[in-house]
Symmetry: D2
Subunit: 377 residues, 4 copies
Amino acid sequence: MKKIKMGMIGGGSGAFIGDAHRRASRICNDFELVGGVFSADFEKSKQFAKTEGISNNRCYPSVDAMIHAELALPLEERIELVAIVTPNALHFSFAKKLLLAGFHLVCEKPMTMTVDEAMELEKLVNQKKLTFALAHTYTGYPMVRQMKDLIAQGVLGTIQRIDAQYYQGWINSIIHGTESRITGVWRLEPEHAGISSCIGDIGVHAFNLIEYTTGLTIKQVLSDLNSVQKEVKLDLDATVLLRFSDNLKGVIRASQVCAGEENSLTIAVYGSKSSLKWEQENPNYLYLLSDSEPTKIYKPAHGYNEAFAEASHTMPSGHPEGIYEALANIYKGTAKSIRGVNFVPGEFPTVHEGLRGMKFIHSVIESNKLGNVWISI
Amino acid sequence: MKKIKMGMIGGGSGAFIGDAHRRASRICNDFELVGGVFSADFEKSKQFAKTEGISNNRCYPSVDAMIHAELALPLEERIELVAIVTPNALHFSFAKKLLLAGFHLVCEKPMTMTVDEAMELEKLVNQKKLTFALAHTYTGYPMVRQMKDLIAQGVLGTIQRIDAQYYQGWINSIIHGTESRITGVWRLEPEHAGISSCIGDIGVHAFNLIEYTTGLTIKQVLSDLNSVQKEVKLDLDATVLLRFSDNLKGVIRASQVCAGEENSLTIAVYGSKSSLKWEQENPNYLYLLSDSEPTKIYKPAHGYNEAFAEASHTMPSGHPEGIYEALANIYKGTAKSIRGVNFVPGEFPTVHEGLRGMKFIHSVIESNKLGNVWISI
Amino acid sequence: MKKIKMGMIGGGSGAFIGDAHRRASRICNDFELVGGVFSADFEKSKQFAKTEGISNNRCYPSVDAMIHAELALPLEERIELVAIVTPNALHFSFAKKLLLAGFHLVCEKPMTMTVDEAMELEKLVNQKKLTFALAHTYTGYPMVRQMKDLIAQGVLGTIQRIDAQYYQGWINSIIHGTESRITGVWRLEPEHAGISSCIGDIGVHAFNLIEYTTGLTIKQVLSDLNSVQKEVKLDLDATVLLRFSDNLKGVIRASQVCAGEENSLTIAVYGSKSSLKWEQENPNYLYLLSDSEPTKIYKPAHGYNEAFAEASHTMPSGHPEGIYEALANIYKGTAKSIRGVNFVPGEFPTVHEGLRGMKFIHSVIESNKLGNVWISI
Amino acid sequence: MKKIKMGMIGGGSGAFIGDAHRRASRICNDFELVGGVFSADFEKSKQFAKTEGISNNRCYPSVDAMIHAELALPLEERIELVAIVTPNALHFSFAKKLLLAGFHLVCEKPMTMTVDEAMELEKLVNQKKLTFALAHTYTGYPMVRQMKDLIAQGVLGTIQRIDAQYYQGWINSIIHGTESRITGVWRLEPEHAGISSCIGDIGVHAFNLIEYTTGLTIKQVLSDLNSVQKEVKLDLDATVLLRFSDNLKGVIRASQVCAGEENSLTIAVYGSKSSLKWEQENPNYLYLLSDSEPTKIYKPAHGYNEAFAEASHTMPSGHPEGIYEALANIYKGTAKSIRGVNFVPGEFPTVHEGLRGMKFIHSVIESNKLGNVWISI
């Protein structure tokens, strides 16, 4: 099958997330990276393009230049999909321009800086009928998809409690470092990261994972944030109470200062009949707990799984696939959507999930600012 | 060494917690159960005493009768320690009478029904200079004690976040059962259990574990409780935000409706340099995480442990001891305190921890009742 | 119920295994330790008896003296059960005397020094119709008993492979220590330990666990032993090929020089339909694997378990019981056998299992001596 | 950097291992698949090439045709590396032809059908100075490489025991299936698979992993094989005793009939000072055990790791990479070797490891045939 031509904004030398997108696009094998704006510094961008084997005449000095030049190419040579992997503050303006020019997008999260921007993007995507995938990578794991399907089938009974965690420790070396301290880490600077560090960078993944797997909508939040040190401007640590309905409550716990935690995103959904638990660091294990039967461990590549999970894993059982393959699954769904064939809702997070995420981030920040009160999302 | 004579209030046939106390007292081998009031029904009590090999003339119809008769015995035959293992509502009046009569006590938690009662007991214990041990059994585990000592040494650096969980699922079968439903389970009846089910029965263990291991004091709480079904009168599910100081926050999550969870008490204390994690269901593993070194797993019966942990485990390494041995360690400390030899603070939870627990329970209930606001403990 | 009076040979100050037997007997609550010969040194023995609260006139200078004195007591005061917890070389002569005198026995393993001795004991037990329990403690774990019952029901289909491991590391500090080296550790001295260290002390547990859980008989062994250092006289490390039948093979791996291993006894029984795996260090987890269903984790205190497993655990689920409780289950079965009520075969390893173990040990040593050839057990 | 042009023999539609190689080559991003012989059936091959976006004129009817045509191309268009992913029986003749024609190779294991063939290939590779990588994929995992480096540094002290396991269960559904039974699975047919199923397909991985991580040479083997059913012609289950030296013994356990096991390759290397353990199904955890310190868990993406391990993982810590990334690391090393830059021995298994593997397989089969005797490798 002919590969979809792909461009990239950001993700130059040293940017791990850009590299992740490129690998994922190669794994799923539906895309060919042909151009982009890999750095704000054009020289660096060109140097990087070279190492990637991208011809210099498709390494552009700006997004505008890229749009202009690509639109001038014949359709079959033209970039169809652009991956936006810049710091948060740049997502919106680039996404808007690219959508207006008719490009499909994969965008990193959080999608925008404000809720208004997110609403504008949602409207634009719907108007232009373009594919827009948000990089909530974790939804690409087979066992997350199995979890989603088991819950949709009602395996859990009535859901009674939801608990998600996203703990990391990497900010410690920054806030406790003697030299570099806070400067230079864009995630801690409001002008680049937006109004939140911990919730915006990782808490929102937990939020998305809850809504993705359960199909439920979080109605209200009450948050308690901690920036740990006076000179830190954004939240580094958060607990967020969740209300889904009168009888269903939950919690999201997120922190970037948990020394020694690596990337501990976990979710537990507890129902009246049984419960499901999953951990990102051991993504090929899904636990189904019940009061009356032995705990069951679901793993990929087994006939007992739902079709969606099985289609999201390629190796025989016991051959662990990881996060690149999860992101490749998001790209695979994006390709199917662009091609208009066999697309299954849920194969990638959409602009709508991006908007939900922005509402969540802003509600959480507001709740904390107002003194830990309930805010409707 | 001569055994300390022990009596018991409650804990008759079918009461698992009474059996646990008896086993623990036998394991530590410092006590001899010689009498008690095992049931409100005197006939049942006598029948039970028989199965335990306790002579009928020391099986009493009431606590008053027991006090009266025992005080009439010569000192060396007399019961010295009484274990109170009744439903919550009876703890206070029995404890008060027994303390006034000069008996040492082991008491189940929560210690009383109200904070005032708890304060009265604390005063009484201090006045009478008696030993009063509260059955926060989990503080008897060797690795919990190792955790306490490592934190006291400053291994973690500045503590930045604390997260404790206590999840169970056993109430599910009661609230979703078609027959028995709620009646008959005293833990769900305010007149027997007090003002709380989930927080009073298990949340308070998480609270105690935090204060025990870290030596810190929780200043304020903000809670969100859920009773899941309209006809349930008490909380079955809770999230409690914690404030220790301006820059140290935390959370306790507790629930009795997490289908398939057994007795999942966990604690994680995150510091600026490293972190410690422990789980009750796998009590012989203590994890020390750091950003710069491999995660370390501490286990009992090793020279690298502190003396307190080592004294709390008797078998060679790899021979798992469990919850009975943890409770036996509490009893061992109680015996040392009664005998006045070699007693180390921390070997059993005292009446002071009981008062702290009651304040916590009441603050949590009040916070929820007032609409999820901060309450000082 | 009246307690069975118990005596003990060996197990004085510092002997962990004697302490384990005493604790276990107290946990199960059917026994009362009233006398014994706790040390070859009578003074030490008396000193120890005192710390245990045993009256000095039942602390005997020798086994003969004990037999003589106890037989002179009225039946209802007399010791009924004697626990033999001496080094291996003494088991046989003491056991024989005690059986001839009509005492029931609990004996540590390996049961004797030679196969002939073991046969003699078996004959004696059968003749005298006495209860003889061998301390294969691990058969007392609830999940080992669940495993036995599941296999007996045919859950696994045809058994196709059996693999057991017993790895420890504690001998390292002895053979690599600069001072004490080998001397003083009786387990390494043939005159005290017998013909084997690794196989005799731990390999035989793995052997017993296989025959206990599967009900199968190992027909032949081919072993390869390693004593690691020239000056070590006994095996410290072993691999033993097993033949059950033409199409069923297996392996036992045992070692005392696996640095950092604590007490890693594991068993895996693989069948045509499904498989069962268990590990002693995490004894409350039993894994049922199959090619067509999610792996299932059995845990104690659940309605889905067989009656035997459920009767072997007393706490609610999630409250971990450990090795003392496993040994207490062996003692409980022994008490039931002595009392002649409700006894279920499998509740304790018998003299027959002791004989099987001795045959295994001798076959393994012979196979190695003859150059790694097949030896029939 | 310019991509190395790559061809493939085998690996057409439905062949998971061919797909794995293609993905791995794309992940490492040094290769571009431009042609090949994907199936013995030319039509199927062409159809498959189309789905991969490979131009039809480089989809060849035979290896000879491919060699002929490619050699006619200018150097910079020509295939440089060929991946051989056919059934075992075809490896040798294709590899020989391709080497003689000057192509670099990646070859699946086992490398050949006979030891002689393997020796011939080794000679050829050395003569032609070509790069030959054998797909012992597991050596590409970061933590396996960390293990290799820690052992090379002497962290373990004197190695005292080595134990490797490779258990799978997938053959069960074939030998116990009611329809298809044995036919149609080439791994069970001697003419396609060679003289061994279990040892040839998986046991050899365990063998390689031992020699790779320890740098030691296995001198002798004594094996016991089981084909489980009469009509099965090859081994499905094996235990292999290993001799490294007088005082170092070990064991490889491999089976394809362990119901429910997925791909359980594990290795444990026990030393006098400490030990290392690793499991393929959870490849990002490496355990360092010692008798005197807490067990340490090494994970990828940490400053405490050796450079080789760190270069083998790209994501930040806690983002699990899997088997495709391990194979990509093999391909990365192959590319560096072909390019002649920065190549580090150990970055891919060579033809020498292929020869060692063939010797191992043949020695194991011979040992069993001769009645479980020691055979020198």
